[in-house]
């Protein structure tokens, strides 16, 4: 395994990376004090790190190539591609047990753990819903939306400003925020969804930045960079709640929303519309030639995704009671995209796992949280290079119809 050739190659890679990272990693200068700091230890880390990673890289590439050759043969591949989670969930006996205990755990969570933990969990759940929403757009319909955060911002600002100017409450603002975001989605979608995939990505990115910059500069309307504060938390039949209770309440709200979203997305992706999305992702021209209205189908995906972002936006504003343009940068869109990509585009379970891993892990490993964005970037690259289907790839197409087919077979 570790032949001399391999060692030599890794050694050369290691030297190359030492050279490559030399100015940025080793030297740090202060142009005012006129001092130079040499961090030679970093060089050693880079050397060792790249030496090891080059082995890993080659190993992973080999594995990937071997896999794709397997698929080329075509015959025996199929059910083995499923992960154990899918197999469990396919079996109703296990499924009910798993879902039941998950629900029970979710319900008692705030009573077992501290307010702080509940708050973090609520945030993670918000990202689950955001991820599932973006998953409709990117994962199912194959539309790379890099400005997803704009719709999130629309939702958040809808509630903040409606309250600020008109005293509108949370429950009224919730649907308005969602619908307004969906409306933005349609208005933006009509001109841009005609564009090719990569142009679409850039236009949505530009749109996201425009929304943020407008919020930053249009002080009279949005209170500018300082943001809107004193947004009320979600109310419950007008009962006054203490801060802790309000948090727990928001948490349960999120649990309900997550359940509803899963139900929604699951039913949609197993429907005529969901199939049309996936077909559109696979081949636009063939899709149109099969009688699918491309614009309409894309627009529905785009605005549904936006709707979910808007809803979560309202809840975000209510949870934090303060929003500013800084909460809605491109980085936020990138995080949500990472969740979808890591979990597996088009896979509901994958996205849930993706969100929990990417949001909770940095919270609990505080020492690592500095490296969070670095890791997100690396995740996007590595997933695309080594495992484009995500940690839990979507598999719905291989088994959804199997039972049906058997039923059909018996009839005919």
């Amino acid at each position: 395994m570790f032949t001399f050739e391999e060692l030599k190659r890794s050694f050369l890679v290691s030297i190359w990376f030492v050279f490559l990272t030399f100015p940025i990693m080793v030297i740090r200068v202060d142009s005012i004090e006129k001092t130079v700091q040499w961090r030679w230890m970093n060089m050693v880390y880079v050397a060792i790190g790249s030496f090891i990673l080059s082995f890993v890289f080659r190993y992973m590439m080999q594995r990937k190539e071997m896999k794709s050759e397997d698929n080329g043969d075509g015959d025996k591949k199929d059910k083995t591609g499923r992960s154990f989670i899918h197999r469990w969930l396919a079996d109703p006996k296990y499924r009910n047990a798993i879902l039941g205990s998950l629900l029970a755990a979710a319900i008692i969570f705030p009573h077992v753990f501290s307010t702080y933990q509940t708050s973090i969990m609520t945030t993670a759940l918000m990202y689950v819903v955001l991820g599932l929403g973006l998953n409709i757009v990117v994962g199912l319909a194959g539309l790379l939306d890099l400005g997803y955060v704009a719709f999130y911002a629309v939702g958040a600002y809808t509630y903040a400003l409606l309250y600020h100017f008109f005293g509108v409450g949370f429950w009224v603002a919730l649907p308005i925020g969602g619908l307004l975001a969906a409306l933005f989605g349609i208005l933006l979608g009509i001109p841009v969804l005609r564009l090719r995939g990569d142009y679409l990505a850039i236009v949505t990115l530009g749109f996201g930045e425009i929304i943020r910059l407008v919020m930053e500069n249009w002080g009279a309307f949005s209170q500018g960079p300082s943001g809107v504060s004193n947004i009320p938390r979600p109310s419950f039949f007008g009962i006054d709640m203490s801060l802790d209770t309000a948090l727990v309440y928001t948490y349960y709200l999120m649990i309900l929303l997550v359940i509803f979203t899963i139900f929604f997305v699951n039913r949609l992706q197993d429907s005529r519309l969901g199939r049309a999305w996936i077909a559109l992702r696979e081949d636009e021209i063939a899709c149109q030639a099969m009688g699918i209205d491309k614009m309409k189908t894309k627009l529905v995906a785009f605005s549904l995704g936006a709707f979910w972002a808007g809803i979560v936006g309202v809840i975000f504003a209510a949870k934090t009671t303060f929003i500013s343009p800084r909460s809605f940068t491109f980085i936020e869109s990138a995080i949500i995209l990472s969740i979808v990509v890591l979990g597996g585009m088009g896979s509901i379970i994958g996205v849930i796992f993706g969100a929990l891993i990417l949001i909770l892990l940095p919270e609990y490993l505080r020492a690592l949280s500095e490296y969070r964005m670095l890791a997100f970037g690396a995740i996007l690259v590595c997933m695309m290079v080594f495992r484009p289907q995500g940690i839990i790839g979507s598999i719905r197409r291989t088994y959804t119809y199997q039972n049906r087919k058997k039923a059909d077979g018996e009839v005919s």
Partner: protein, 300 residues
């Protein structure tokens, strides 16, 4: 009138910088059809490398001209190396994957590099030494056109001429054009396509590095985030001119630079970035093939 000329020149020098970056986008796009999202980061790394080297040389007491040349050389060498490495690690394995995969990988690469510099260096704005002195002969018009504007314009023009010669008349240039027209065909006639792609990344990155150094010295400060905004703007310029077209990238950059300069000069500077982004969105919607690009009808 003076104000107008001042804006004109600042617009032109802005455009020149965008052009240096936009060329990288357009060349890579022409060859492998990928929006190299990490290109703005290459430019940022070029600025950082030249900053580090220039500061060290200043401390060591080198003369001004030597500092400019050596720092520029270092920026080019390292940026080119980064460009080369990024292609090998993040794009080459995805050459036959769906277009979106490579784009997502590029976005990831961009995030990674930004945060890599943030962690290895600093998140603060660093004061960048003024490398270009105020020339005496520029004295009479200094209130309208700064020396560094002039240096930017001259350097960019020289670089453009060299690039045009390279692409039009050398063997490598011909191979690049062949590869961008039809990669399979190019491979069949014996062009080493992998090498051509690498060379394209190296050239594009070198141009961005020069741009990075010039702009950092002009504006006087750098930070890990400069690549993102500059990258998007340069990309806007490339699309405006017609992505894939080299003269288009230059034309688009000048148009964008002038638009920004006059818009901020006469209208309002608050919305500077909004102008650029809106321009980008409008072009892509109404004329995605750009000013000089060819409309692409997909063959079925």
């Amino acid at each position: 009138m003076d104000y107008f000329i001042e804006l004109l020149f600042s617009g032109l020098s802005r455009g020149a910088i965008y052009a240096l970056i936009a060329l990288g986008y357009t060349m890579v796009y022409g060859i492998i059809g990928l929006i190299n999202f990490a290109h703005g980061e290459i430019y940022m790394i070029g600025a950082f490398t030249s900053f580090i080297i220039a500061t060290i040389l200043t401390i060591l007491g080198f003369p001004g001209l030597a500092i400019i040349l050596l720092a520029g050389l270092a920026a080019v060498i390292w940026s080119a190396s980064y460009g080369y490495t990024i292609e090998k690690v993040a794009y080459k394995p995805l050459r036959h994957a769906p277009r979106l995969s490579a784009l997502i990988s590029a976005i990831g690469m961009s995030m990674f590099l930004q945060n890599y510099v943030l962690l290895a260096q600093t998140s603060d704005f660093l004061p960048f030494p003024q490398l270009v002195p105020d020339f005496d002969f520029m004295e009479p018009i200094a209130h309208i056109v700064g020396s560094s504007d002039m240096v930017i314009l001259v350097t960019t023009t020289v670089v453009m001429i060299c690039l045009t010669i390279l692409i039009k008349y050398t063997k490598i240039g011909k191979a690049m054009r062949a590869t961008s027209q039809d990669r399979t065909m190019a491979m069949l006639v014996g062009i080493n396509v992998n090498r051509i792609i690498s060379i394209t990344f190296i050239i594009g990155s070198s141009l961005a590095a020069i741009g990075g150094m010039l702009v950092a010295s002009h504006i006087g400060q750098i930070n890990f985030y400069i690549g993102f905004i500059a990258g998007i703007k340069a990309f806007t310029a490339a699309v405006l001119g017609g992505i894939g077209s080299i003269p288009g990238a230059v034309l688009g950059s000048v148009v964008l630079g002038l638009t920004e300069s006059f818009a901020t000069g006469y209208v309002s500077s608050d919305y500077e970035d909004v102008f650029a982004f809106s321009l980008l969105v409008l072009i892509l919607i109404f004329k995605p093939s750009g000013l000089l690009g060819k409309a692409d009808t997909q063959k079925v």
